[in-house]
Subunit: 456 residues, 2 copies
């Protein structure tokens, strides 16, 4: 990074961003760069390729904008299907869709996708400041309209050891890592001379977090152990244990009857449900607040999500939970008149509480800068906007195999509930219809068919 900064300094005759100002600095960089063609249409810059960014990219009319998408991932991930890909029901390629498949107009010369991180937004100059993902080359892109959809990140709640020793369930690469670890532990457990305690540890999978992702992963894994591993080696499969640890209750945002149904199904599938709060994760074992120490071979972390340091650093208004505050048209709000720029979640909460107590008004909406998906929320509802719209239309969670709980309809509307095979089909079909391209629908269908016929 330092070398790159120096190289730029040289290119700019030793003058940096501080002396030149953002606009001149960017212009100087632009002189030696291969910027995309422009048709003269306003340039829409989308940051992020998650549910929010990808959905916008798909729905936008490319005749109205020149489009630049900036993200460290060139594909969107069907996050609800990641649990399935950990045990081989689905292949990693089936749960990801390239952004150029989602918006084919990205192949036109005036549009482009840039594999990069956004580091800052300069509203005065309408520039985003970015660095390429792999070698950190710095560059600027001019926008007329900016859509921020950079998402959230897994929250460790400050618990020691979570980052070092547990595996998250957010990205396609995570599922490959989890699958590799499962195969490793399965293999290591049967080495002659392995002590019984060590064998038990290797065959123990701990899932922390009883939200839809954790529940679905535990269910899929139990199903995989019972149906596939049992065929491979019945003794070892019988010794395989799955524990789901949740501080509050399973699927807390769901209807009580569905929660009970999910708990019953998981228990019957052999998943051990533990109510507890994780105090510390260490290599090979974790400790609960009640003092219990649980050895594990694999620990999957799927608790709540929080704001990224990028979104916290943006010069816009934040909600109590650190998201970008947006109005009902998803426009971000200017920073509050007092000018305080919080950069940590603790600061945000404190400042918001003070302002709420003082009855201070929020900042004004900034035209042409939008926040969507997990990164943003309206001030009124503490939980997120666009990314959750689909969820409001159909909240679902699969519990492994041909059994699932499903709840359709928005809050206050009529609810439809099923369980068993029918809901499993509905659940899977719901994802199928949301997949971006025909190719991926076929991938997923082909994977499911293969799994059904031949096992995973």
């Amino acid at each position: 990074m330092l070398a790159i900064a120096k190289a730029f300094s040289r290119a700019l005759g030793g003058r940096g961003i501080e002396t030149l100002g953002v606009r001149a600095y960017a212009k100087a960089l632009g002189d030696q760069s291969t910027l995309p063609l422009s048709t003269g249409r306003p340039r829409l810059v989308i940051l992020g390729t998650g549910w929010g960014g990808a959905r916008l990219a798909r729905d936008i009319d490319p005749k109205k904008f020149d489009i630049t998408i900036i993200s460290p991932r060139n594909h969107m991930v069907f996050t609800p299907l990641i649990a399935s890909s950990c045990v081989g029901t689905l292949e990693p390629r089936s749960v990801t869709v390239p952004i150029t498949d989602i918006q084919p107009a990205l192949r036109l010369p005036q549009n482009n996708f840039l594999l990069a991180e956004c580091d800052a937004v300069h509203t005065q100059d309408r520039l985003v400041e970015c660095s390429s993902t792999h070698d950190g080359l710095k560059f600027f892109v001019q926008y007329d309209v900016l859509a921020i959809a950079t998402g959230s990140q897994g929250s460790t709640f400050g618990i020691p050891g979570v980052t070092e020793y547990t595996m998250p369930l957010r990205d396609a690469a995570n599922s490959t890592d989890i699958r590799t670890r499962l195969i490793q532990n399965w293999g290591e457990s049967s080495i002659p001379g392995r002590s019984p305690a060590e064998r038990a540890r290797l065959l123990h999978v701990c899932v922390v977090g009883g939200g839809p992702t954790g529940v679905e992963f535990a269910g899929e894994l139990a199903d995989f152990v019972r149906k596939d591993l049992a065929k491979l080696d019945p003794n070892r499969a019988r010794d395989m244990r799955i524990t789901l640890i949740e501080a509050d209750q399973l699927l807390s945002s769901f209807d009580a009857r569905l929660r009970e149904y999910a708990a019953l199904k998981l228990t019957r599938a052999g998943v051990h449900l533990v109510k507890g709060i994780v105090k510390e994760v260490r290599k090979d074992e974790l400790e609960l607040k009640n003092g219990a120490v649980i050895p594990y071979g694999l620990c999957v972390w799927s608790t709540g999500v929080g704001p990224t340091s990028f979104s916290l650093s943006l010069p816009f208004e934040k909600t109590m939970r650190g998201r970008l505050a947006v109005d009902d048209r998803l426009r971000v709000l200017a920073r509050h008149a007092d000018g305080r720029g919080p950069t940590s979640l603790e600061d945000v909460s404190m400042i918001q509480e003070e302002r709420a107590a003082a009855g201070q008004p929020t900042g004004r909406p900034i035209p042409c800068i939008f926040g969507l998906g997990d990164v943003a929320a309206t001030q009124e509802t503490p939980l997120p906007a666009l990314a959750q719209v689909a969820e409001q239309q159909g909240r679902m969670a699969s519990v492994g195999g041909t059994s699932a709980v499903i709840e359709l309809g928005g809050s206050g509307q009529q609810h439809v509930r099923w369980s068993g095979f029918t809901s499993w089909i509905a659940w899977r079909s719901a994802y199928l219809t949301r997949l971006g391209t025909m190719k991926h629908r076929l991938y997923v269908m082909s994977d499911w068919t293969m799994s059904l016929i031949f096992g995973r």
Copy 2:
């Protein structure tokens, strides 16, 4: 490793392999281990799950032996299909077959697969000494019949930088790494502000080695650039360059007409053929013996293979090229009467030359220990035995897309030659029929169909 060794020392009352002797040491370890059941049949131990080991595992009659397979890989890799999986024509799962699918009897309690490396063979006590792949736990397994099929390893010919900076093409994981690097470089090349020279470097793929693997990879990649990347971004695809570097000639073991055909096809597909010897590989560039310096974004290394340090360390006779010397029934030969135990390839060549000059006879065949695949060779033929039988029956190399060279028939027999679409079908079909299970045949067929219809 040290901690594990200490733990074992404790378990053995401080007595180690040196004081106890191999048999007693193994027995002491065995007392606390979960050794497989035995039916009283002779135990066949197979080391390795490559073409040789997997083929033997498939063909062996499990009613005649209790079977233990020991390998750091729980699957066999269809090495000739790895080139295709680098560009997404095939998925990694389609080019690997779990060893338990190849020999379903491995699921019976008296048989087992152990995810481990073999470290030594103790012929006196009929024990193999092993350590588990991931945590290095040491153990011993008794054999009545031993089949050594641990294969070869890529040879760097002592050229500096090969291990650090180039990517091999031998394992399914390699293809994932290569695919990831291609995507990274493609993305990095279009970052605004990237210098033209750096852009050219990132879009340059160097393939070193003009054997079947290198030729097939270069051909597949050229095909991918022309058909898939060109749709994504025609300018960038036009700037993508592929160079194939070979010291001697392309496909040197093939018929001259087929060699010319392959060279012509590759050149027409846009592959730049360079005759030269690599002197050194550095980060981002390599240097030829003639002084030429070639910048690259990705360098794939696919030159010849050599013996592993494990096979060199075995107390058996070696060939001039360091392989295990076997007789015509594939039995390994006892070490020569002079007792010299070479452990490096240079030693082997030297000792063999001295013995040949002195007219000394080779050692006697050891009953019940066999060498198969790349690890072994008969003294007469310097090139390998079993792994090449299939190759002798049909030497083939695909050159990307629907064009291939194919040569059928053994040496001295009538040769059949095709080129173009027919041979491509034949080439692909040949692999299909060799695939271990119906499931994998369907995977591969489904991948190919998807690629044909939707692109990669």
